[in-house]
């Protein structure tokens, strides 16, 4: 009877909780003090030893052997031709030639070289599999540890060396040497101090100040309230990035300085119906329902650029922190903790939007000293 469930021994026992699984082992488990040895059932099947070697067609049939040799040689020869084709393509194909909507040169170089390499690989593996001796070999392992004599000799040598040095005995020498080596770690740290300036107040300040115009970040044109439509979002920058002072050829901020300043000063300007703004304090910082918020996410600094006109939500594309601009930039979802900082707006004599001060909250990712004075 060999059907399932019909044999009396064996499978019943292991339906139970694991602690009873020793019940499957007929021999009594041995307690060796610390362990229960389950290794008492013996190995049910003896090692039958390595099987016989089975010859391959190429081992017994000279014709098959010749054929394999020819096939592999063909792979290698084709590879050499493809490599030559690569060199020809390098000089023959112009840089701007297009094939299948992509660079013809890239395609030709890559396909010829790739196939040339691939054929060498396939050929070598095929050679090993079909023509090289395929008798399995047995090599005995040795323990990873050294022999006891070697260990004893090494330890003895170490102890003799240590003894002769007097390192253990001469505590003053030892102490001063270890101290002198230890303090050598200091220059390694001290030398790093010029890697950068100390943060100081830099992470808390931006180029915004009272009177700085809010300008469109593409045109650099200053913004008038009537140019912003209801529900619209305009990406803004401080006007100082674009204004060229008298007698100068370039704006004050350029290159890396400009990027550094932009990384903190970028803003978004949105217009809502004054009734839609639920946060009175926030509304008071705007002009006719036009509010200005930092574009830099207070989570990890990505530019927050996805504007949901209906919900007045601004969503960060990096980690999906969602801010309610109708409620002072409050976080409604996502990993950001702080509201997106708001910039107080006013109008200058020309009727253009200006900042009334710098941000009053730190812009960008949080940092440990954020709320210290």
């Amino acid at each position: 009877m060999t059907t399932h469930g019909s044999h009396p021994a064996g499978s019943e026992g292991d339906e139970h909780d694991g602690r009873d699984s020793t019940a499957n082992v007929p021999a009594k488990p041995r307690h060796t003090g610390e362990r229960v040895v389950l290794r008492t059932g013996g190995d049910p099947v003896a090692d039958p030893g390595l099987g016989e070697h089975e010859p391959r067609p190429t081992d017994v049939d000279p014709a098959a052997e010749k054929r394999a040799e020819r096939q592999i040689s063909l792979l290698f020869a084709t590879s050499a031709l493809l490599t030559l084709a690569f060199c020809v393509a390098y000089f023959a194909i112009p840089r701007d030639a297009v094939l299948f909507g992509t660079s013809a040169l890239n395609l030709a170089l890559g396909v010829s070289l790739g196939l040339a390499l691939l054929l060498i690989g396939i050929g070598a593996i095929q050679w090993a599999k079909t023509l090289m001796d395929d008798h399995e070999m047995v090599e005995m392992r040795h323990g990873s540890a050294s022999s006891e004599e070697d260990k004893a000799e090494a330890l003895a040598a170490f102890e003799q060396g240590a003894e002769e040095s007097g390192f253990g005995r001469r505590s003053m020498l030892r102490g001063t040497l270890l101290t002198s080596l230890g303090v050598l770690g200091l220059p390694a740290v001290v030398l790093m101090a010029d890697l950068g300036p100390l943060p100081g107040n830099a992470p808390r300040t931006t180029v915004w100040a009272k009177g700085v115009r809010v300008v469109n970040d593409i045109t650099g044109e200053p913004l008038r309230p009537d140019a912003i439509q209801l529900g619209q979002l305009v990406n803004g920058q401080p006007g100082v990035f674009y204004e060229i002072a008298e007698g100068e050829e370039h704006p004050e901020y350029e290159g890396t300085e400009l990027l550094n300043a932009k990384a903190k000063a970028s803003v978004v300007v949105v217009r809502m119906l004054p009734d839609e703004i639920t946060n009175a304090g926030s509304a008071a910082k705007g002009v006719d329902g036009i509010l200005c918020f930092s574009k830099i996410c207070p989570h990890l600094g990505c530019p927050i650029s996805l504007w949901e006109q209906q919900t007045k939500n601004l969503i960060c594309p990096c980690h999906q922190s969602t801010f309610d601009l109708a409620d002072g930039g409050r976080v409604v979802f996502g990993p950001a903790k702080r509201a997106v900082p708001q910039l107080e707006l006013g109008l200058d004599d020309g009727g253009y939007l200006i900042a009334m001060s710098d941000f009053t909250e730190p812009v960008g990712p949080s940092f440990p000293e954020m709320y210290q004075d």
Partner: protein, 572 residues
């Protein structure tokens, strides 16, 4: 028996035969650096064969490809933040101010012949390098290949994986395009979240405020010299230990804990492994030719006020980005110190946690099981159900974090709002690994029982026989001796028990808390396993098999291939 047995170091005695053309140069070299002693041992070193042993090879070869293609790129790439007006052949950015680093990357893509190919090979090889290392690590984990004496190599491997992640991130930051700048912006935020010293670390690393002038040149030297140097040294050590401890092998007929069965390094593995290098190289080059990766010219130069929607990091950073996305907004200010746990825990501590757990695992397992012996035979995942279940739980958590990293993509493609996705993931990240653990453990035990069944009663044939007296039974096909041995070649585990509370002299020896914890853990580890059949069980199964031996099918000569429509074992 036609198999040749060669034991370590016992090469055939030299005869007076002449050694062919190699003798001259060999003598010249040996007279100077005396390598024959080493060469005679290693030249014919035996390596076992299995497809899963090639995963580490892929990682090694991708690293070589990275070195080769990286040297080419370094001839043209210029890690400078100096602004210039682009005047190259890509029309979209002509006249635009950009960093020299970005402009030189555009030149590599459009001006230098083969430059685009090399850039794409380099990026694909990096992707493959990380993937191969990860899968290789999983193979080592699930087969128990990290056990003594290979714990050191496990730790070196983990260091390689971590350095590889950093190296990859540094590499795709170099072009200074919009996408890489966004990645750096996030990295800067992570640095700031480190309690107490975060701001200082960020200012020191970036040479002041983000993005600054200094970061690209600094990370360049780390990317091309510092990290590859360490990687190269660690890889060398990884390989030397592999040679010294010899490769693990699967148990099977003639394959024991004391030997290695396989093919010699020269010529078989030189041809196979060397050939495989060319295969990996060839495939990587073909990918560089046919599949676009990181088209930096599309993104444009970095601008901190711009971002591309759906920004995704390279795949190996995805899980970290995912953790950042699903983390709730925990930020506290204690004694004037702001602790951004919403950033620090997923962005910094999680990586430490993952590698801490992986690094500790071999030692925890060793302590729980009390097994201090050397193991050279691999375990089938089913025969270590608890380990396999831990691995499955880990993969589940990693996979969920990875999915979290694409929550916006999932939201747009599957038309689900990402609030729901993110909230579900916040729960799943805790629940799913536990479920995966339990399910995997039960599956493993089920498979162990199936293996035992196979050994005891043979393969199921699916054929129901009715005997003369009307009883129904299924015909079974006995397994071959080789298969039965392979299925039972693993060890029975020990379960740590508490020692007696009184020693032989009746003196009280109360259990320490540690002993109790260990005993409980050991039971948790092993007690549910289905042990392989005992000698007695096998004898009993054989004896009652004889009652109806007429229904037993002839033992198949070769591996069981299923049965044909007549119920007879299928042959080639």
């Amino acid at each position: 028996m036609s198999t040749r047995i060669e034991t370590d170091g016992s090469s055939p005695t030299p005869s007076k035969k002449s050694y062919g053309p190699a003798a001259g140069p060999t003598k010249w070299i040996d007279d100077r650096i005396g390598l024959a002693g080493l060469a005679k041992k290693q030249m014919r070193k035996v390596f076992p064969e299995h497809w899963s042993f090639m995963l580490g090879e892929i990682a090694l070869y991708s690293f070589v490809i990275l070195l080769l293609s990286g040297v080419f790129l370094s001839f043209w790439y210029d890690p400078s933040m100096t602004e210039l007006e682009y005047e190259g052949s890509y029309a979209m950015w002509r006249g635009v101010e950009m960093s020299t680093a970005y402009a030189s990357t555009l030149d590599l893509s459009f001006e230098v012949r083969g430059g685009l190919l090399m850039r794409q090979i380099h990026h694909w090889a990096a992707t493959l390098f990380l993937a191969a290392m990860l899968v290789h690590m999983l193979r080592v984990f699930f087969t128990g290949a990290y056990r003594k004496p290979r714990e050191t190599n496990w730790l070196i491997g983990l260091a390689l994986l971590q350095l590889g992640i950093v190296e990859g991130f540094a590499g795709y930051s170099l072009p200074d395009d919009l996408l890489s700048g966004t990645g750096l912006r996030i990295a800067e935020g992570l640095m700031r979240s480190i309690p107490v010293v975060g701001t200082y670390i960020s200012f020191f690393v970036f040479g002041g405020e983000f993005p600054g002038n200094d970061f690209i040149p600094r990370i360049y030297i780390a990317h091309v010299l510092l990290i590859p140097g360490i990687l190269l040294a660690l890889i060398t050590f990884h390989m030397l230990l592999l040679v010294y401890n010899k490769h693990t092998q699967w148990p099977g007929p003639g394959r024991t804990n004391n030997n290695v069965v396989g093919y010699p390094l020269m010529p078989v593995y030189m041809a196979k492994a060397g050939g495989f290098f060319f295969v990996v190289f060839g495939v990587t080059v073909l990918m560089g030719a046919l599949f676009q990766i990181n088209p930096v010219w599309v993104f444009g130069p970095y601008d901190p006020s711009k971002v591309t929607a759906g920004s995704q990091p390279d795949w190996y950073m995805g899980w970290l980005d995912g953790a950042l996305r699903i983390m709730p907004a925990w930020e506290f200010t204690v004694l004037g110190q702001t602790l951004s746990m919403n950033v620090f825990l997923p962005g910094v501590a999680l990586m430490g946690l993952l590698f801490g757990v992986l690094g500790a695992y071999p030692f925890v397992e060793q302590w729980v099981t009390g097994d201090k012996r050397a193991h050279h035979l691999l375990q089938r995942p089913r025969n270590a159900p608890t380990r396999t279940a831990f691995g499955a739980a880990g993969i589940t958590a990693y996979g969920l974090l990875w999915i979290s990293g694409g929550n916006d993509i999932i939201a747009t493609h599957l038309n689900v709002d990402f609030y729901t996705i993110t909230r579900s993931l916040r729960i799943l990240i805790f629940v799913a690994p536990v479920v995966a653990f339990i399910v995997t453990k039960r599956i493993c035990i089920g498979l162990q029982r199936q293996s035992s069944e196979t050994v005891l009663h043979g393969h199921e044939s699916g054929i129901i026989m009715r005997s003369a007296d009307g009883a129904y039974s299924e015909r079974h096909v006995p397994v071959s001796a080789e298969e039965a041995y392979t299925l039972t070649a693993h060890e029975r585990p020990d379960v740590a028990a508490l020692p007696a509370e009184r020693d032989e002299n009746g003196v009280a020896a109360p259990h320490s808390g540690v002993q109790r914890v260990r005993a409980r853990l050991s039971r948790f580890w092993y007690a549910d396993d289905r042990q392989k059949p005992t000698v007695a069980e096998l004898e009993e199964a054989n004896s009652h098999g004889h009652d109806d031996s007429a229904t037993e099918l002839e033992a198949a000569d070769d591996e069981f291939q299923g049965v044909n429509e007549l119920g007879l074992p299928r042959r080639h």
